[in-house]
């Protein structure tokens, strides 16, 4: 232990010697330096960037590279990708991922599926975060009846059986063309985003409320109040910037959850239509023919797996980089140091 302490004190001494250089690094630079050193997170980020590019370029890929549309049928004749029993054929030179049960190019559908997944997950996350931050900050900052009302609403939301309600809402809102809530929630992608956001905001709100509660007791808040800052100014200039790190980390971590949730809904046949390719639905359609058409489940499953993994890795990396004190690596390092100590 003495050794460790010595090292620490030595490190602690350094800033006084090279004060200029240390002060010159902004929090952004500090973050980037830490994040960059996390190779796994960088790999995740590269994959996500690749996925976003592929998703954006889906129509171009489909038209110019593969030459098949996402809903183009190859079910009869010489080009048929279905056999005499209506079963799909596997990967070949023209159909890199093989065909789905309707004789469509699975590669193109998987590529388009990335669009659906990203739009839903990012859209729902943005909405959930916005609602969660507003309500969480309000509850944590003002406390009193606002806190009671919001916190109890959060409790109520969290106690709801998520999947059952989601299934109920999605199927109800998918009935009529105008959707539900007086046409605000339309069938298809909008209703899925709505449902996911509806059940995600309480987690964000609870997190933000807790953080706000602790921040508002800090000295700098007291200081700005003494200087005459009003509530709005304190909330937006003092509290919110301090919430950015946990919000970014949490948002990155709920994106993969939301991707899985959206895929689960479409696996159950809810949400997006068959015309809009979606990984969950592709996997559901592949399940009955898994034994004879492995590709139909393998490729969308692989993409779903890689995407959620990438977001999780990036989320972990962000947490480590933004909040070093909570870093799992740091803890491990310290533990290692302690174990090494007797030697």
């Amino acid at each position: 232990m003495a050794q460790v302490q010595a090292e620490t004190s030595l490190e602690g001494a350094q800033p006084s010697l090279e004060l200029e250089r240390v002060v010159g690094r902004s929090p952004g630079q500090l973050f980037w330096e830490r994040f960059r050193s996390d190779r796994v997170a960088i790999a995740g980020l590269v994959f996500i960037a690749f996925l976003v590019i592929v998703a954006l370029a889906a129509p171009l890929i489909s038209r110019y590279i593969v030459g098949h549309g996402p809903n183009e049928l190859f079910n009869r004749g010489e080009e048929s990708m279905l056999n005499d029993f209506g079963l799909p054929l596997g990967p070949n030179g023209d159909f890199w991922f093989g065909a789905d049960r309707a004789g469509r190019d699975l590669f193109v559908r998987v590529v388009y599926g990335a669009r659906t997944s990203l739009v839903i997950a990012v859209g729902a996350t943005l909405i959930a975060v916005t609602i969660g931050v507003v309500l969480g900050m309000t509850a944590g900052f003002f406390r009193g009846w606002a806190d009671t009302a919001i916190s109890r609403s959060i409790d109520v939301m969290l106690s709801m059986p998520l999947l059952l309600f989601a299934i109920g809402i999605v199927s109800t809102c998918s009935r009529a063309r105008e959707g539900c809530l007086f046409g605000v929630v339309k069938p298809g992608v909008p209703v899925v985003i709505f449902v996911i956001a509806l059940f995600s905001w309480p987690y964000v709100a609870r997190l933000v409320r807790g953080q706000t509660l602790s921040i508002r007791e800090r000295d700098f808040i007291e200081a700005s109040r003494t200087l005459g800052a009003n509530n709005a100014s304190i909330m937006f200039r003092e509290v919110l910037p301090n919430l950015v790190a946990p919000i970014i980390v949490y948002a990155t971590l709920i994106i993969p959850t939301n991707i899985i949730f959206a895929a689960s809904l479409s696996f159950l046949g809810l949400g997006v239509s068959d015309q809009q390719p979606d990984w969950g639905r592709l996997i559901a359609q592949a399940a009955p023919i898994f034994e004879i058409a492995w590709w139909a489940m393998f490729f969308p499953g692989l993409l779903l797996f890689l995407t959620t993994l990438a977001f999780n890795l990036v989320g972990d990396g962000l947490r480590d980089a933004l909040d070093p004190r909570a870093s799992t690596k740091r803890v491990r390092r310290t533990a290692a140091a302690e174990v090494a100590e007797p030697a």
Binding site: N75, R76, G86, A102, R177, G269, S273, D274, I289, E291
Partner: protein, 637 residues
């Protein structure tokens, strides 16, 4: 009334005495429900077919509409189970492919005596037909009447009471009318039933062959006032009964429910049948029911792939349930010479179709409906269903089998296209005549053509066929927004939902009348119901009906007069002329009214285990003929 009841109690006592005597005569003494009747000895040869043993079936789920109560069961599989095994009706069918749609006497000694004016039907019951345990008494005319009383009892939800209401004098669905309460049903003695009809009804013999009209003992069935309750107490009048039926105590309702339900039947889990000890094969014909096996077991197995694996290995003998085997199973059996013989077929009297609502845009325009018929790629739909093994492309409403095998898809196709793959040019030419094609280029381009709601099932093979239908419609500019739903039928059966187009429905005949269970029933404007409607296209909608159902009235074609005309022809008794009349109506509907895009006349396919020595398709029920299956017990795994 009291006197009547007294008489019937006497009848019960007498009948019980007779049962005792009969059992004494027949019983070989092997006891244990093994069957006093039929060829029950151990497995042996009987004209090439082995008898005895257990026919083991697994199901991925039997859809019961009323928990197994014959009054409320309305699906082919239950029809098959009841008419083969548990219920004898005044008339019935030969349970096979060849004569499966042909009527034959069952409870009745002969076909009915019909009065000159065609309004009175008299049936005489055979002697010696008994209810199985726990009732064990001879069946009387009152038991037949009671079946109709149950049908008239609203709380029991008789699914097809509409066939009888308004036909049998005074039969109205409401409270239980009580003995003698239906003026149109008379039971002058224990063996005679007379029906008085309000109008000549040539299809009446078919109506008294439906399972809901089979005799039911009031002392048991009368204990249950709600739909679905009697299912687990069903007393058999057929060659088999549920195992454990003899453990019921039918002395009164309390004792009955205390001793039940029957162990051999749980609609959510299993159905076990054994020979009905009170059944006398002398009252039946082996051509109708052969009753080869001693037991039939149906167990639930939610893993469909596993069921077919087990059949292949010989662990079980057959499957009933949701539909045909999955495509990979069909492929394996069709391509493996050793398995080929174990793939068995029947041709279902059914049409799968797309329905278009005559009152909603853009399908309120006949040109659009014709264009949809032209453009539809039926060959690809068939491919999505699993290829030609699954049936034939349908080109008109009524399956040809119901009208003597004609016209086939080759003989009559009002919207022809090469290989049934759709004719886009003809479709666009037709569309160009529609007001929804504003610039006459053959594409539906009015705002009504976009986001058209189409209802579909959320299950295979409909989800596989969906892209084909969507793609075909898109070729004439109709962009649909598909709603896949679990309760797809409820959605389209509710008129106020105004579903524009739906690809979920199929219609199978209820009884093999040319016309009356198809074109003449499905498109009768007078039959439109605001809820539970079958005329999804609303052919023959009237102002009053539109108001009643809360939708805007739109002038639509009607074929009510044509239906009445064919019924008139039917009354004259010339079957050929009647058939031709219905065929003409089918064609008028296809060409002038165009409510449907029929696309498939399906096959019923299943696989059988290696121990099966006889299997028949029941044409009436469209399922396995349970009374004509046999196994070689020594070959069973």
């Amino acid at each position: 009334m009291t006197k009547r009841r007294y008489l019937s109690i006497t009848a019960v006592v007498l009948a019980l005495a007779l049962v005792a005597a009969a059992c004494g005569d027949d019983d070989d003494g092997d006891g244990d429900g093994g069957g006093a009747t039929g060829p029950t000895e151990t497995t042996g040869e009987d004209g090439g077919v082995t008898t005895g043993g257990t026919y083991r079936i697994e199901t991925d789920g039997i859809a019961y509409t009323s928990g197994g109560d014959p009054t409320g069961e309305y699906l082919g599989l239950s029809f098959g189970i009841f008419t083969n095994l548990l219920q004898r009706t005044l008339l019935t069918y030969y349970h096979d492919t060849e004569r499966g749609n042909e009527l034959v006497t069952d409870l009745a000694t002969d076909f009915p005596e019909v009065s000159e004016d065609g309004l009175d039907y008299t049936f005489h019951l055979k002697d010696g037909i008994m209810f199985g345990p726990p009732v064990n008494r001879e069946i009387t005319s009152a038991d037949v009447e009671f079946a109709f009383r149950r049908m008239a009892t609203e709380s029991l939800v008789a699914q097809y009471a509409f066939y009888y209401e308004g036909v049998i004098e005074g039969l109205e669905v409401g409270e239980d009318p009580g003995p003698g309460g239906i003026p149109g049903i008379e039971t002058p003695d224990e063996k005679t039933v007379v029906f008085h009809l309000t109008r000549p009804t040539p299809e009446f013999p078919f109506l008294v062959s439906m399972p809901a009209t089979g005799p039911m003992p009031e002392e048991v069935a009368g204990c249950f006032a709600e739909a679905g309750e009697y299912g687990r107490y069903v007393v058999s009048s057929g060659p088999y009964m549920y195992e454990g039926s003899d453990a019921l105590d039918a002395s009164d309702c309390d004792a009955l429910t205390a001793s039940g339900p029957i162990s051999g039947f749980d609609p959510e889990d299993h159905s076990y049948f054994e020979r009905n000890t009170a059944y006398d094969p002398a009252t039946d014909s082996p051509e109708v029911r052969a009753n080869y096996v001693d037991r039939i077991t149906i167990d639930l197995n939610t893993n469909l792939a596993d069921i077919f694996d087990r059949i292949e290995r010989g662990d079980i003998d057959g499957h009933v349930g949701s539909g045909n085997p999955p495509a990979d199973v069909l492929q394996r059996y069709s391509t493996d010479p050793e398995l080929e013989d174990r793939l068995v077929f029947g041709q279902d009297d059914r049409t799968w179709y797309i329905t278009m609502n005559l009152t909603t845009p853009p399908f309120d325009d006949v040109h659009v409906r014709r264009a949809v018929n032209f453009v539809m790629d039926k060959a690809s739909i068939l491919q999505a269903w699993g290829g030609p093994i699954n049936g034939r492309v349908a080109t008109h409403i009524q399956p040809p089998a119901l009208t003597g095998g004609h016209p086939t898809e080759e003989e009559y196709d009002p919207y022809p296209s090469p290989d049934w793959a759709g004719d886009v040019d003809a479709a666009m030419a037709e569309m160009a005549e529609s007001a929804y094609d504003t610039d006459g280029d053959g594409l539906c381009d009015a705002p009504e053509c976009k986001g058209v709601v189409m209802v579909n099932r959320n299950s295979s093979p409909w989800t596989e066929a969906e892209p084909v239908v969507v793609d075909s419609l898109a070729q004439i500019g109709i962009e649909v927004d598909v709603r896949e739903a679990e309760d797809h039928y409820t959605i389209i059966q509710t008129v106020s939902n105004e579903t524009p187009i739906a690809m979920n429905p199929g219609w199978g005949k209820d009884f093999p009348d040319p016309g009356l269970s198809f074109v003449g029933f499905l498109h009768d404007g007078r039959g439109i119901a605001c809820e539970g409607n079958f005329n999804y296209s609303l052919v023959g909608l009237t102002q009053e009906k539109a108001d009643e159902c809360g939708i805007d009235f739109v002038e639509v074609p009607s074929v009510d007069a044509d239906i009445d005309n064919c019924k008139e022809v039917a009354l004259e008794g010339d079957l050929e002329a009647t058939t031709q009349c219905w065929i003409a109506l089918d064609q008028k509907l296809m060409e002038e009214v165009v409510p449907w895009v029929p696309y498939l006349w399906p096959n019923v396919i299943t696989t059988i285990g290696p121990a099966v020595t006889a299997w028949e398709f029941d044409q009436f029920a469209g399922t396995t003929a349970f009374s004509k299956v046999a196994v070689d017990a020594s070959a069973q795994a």
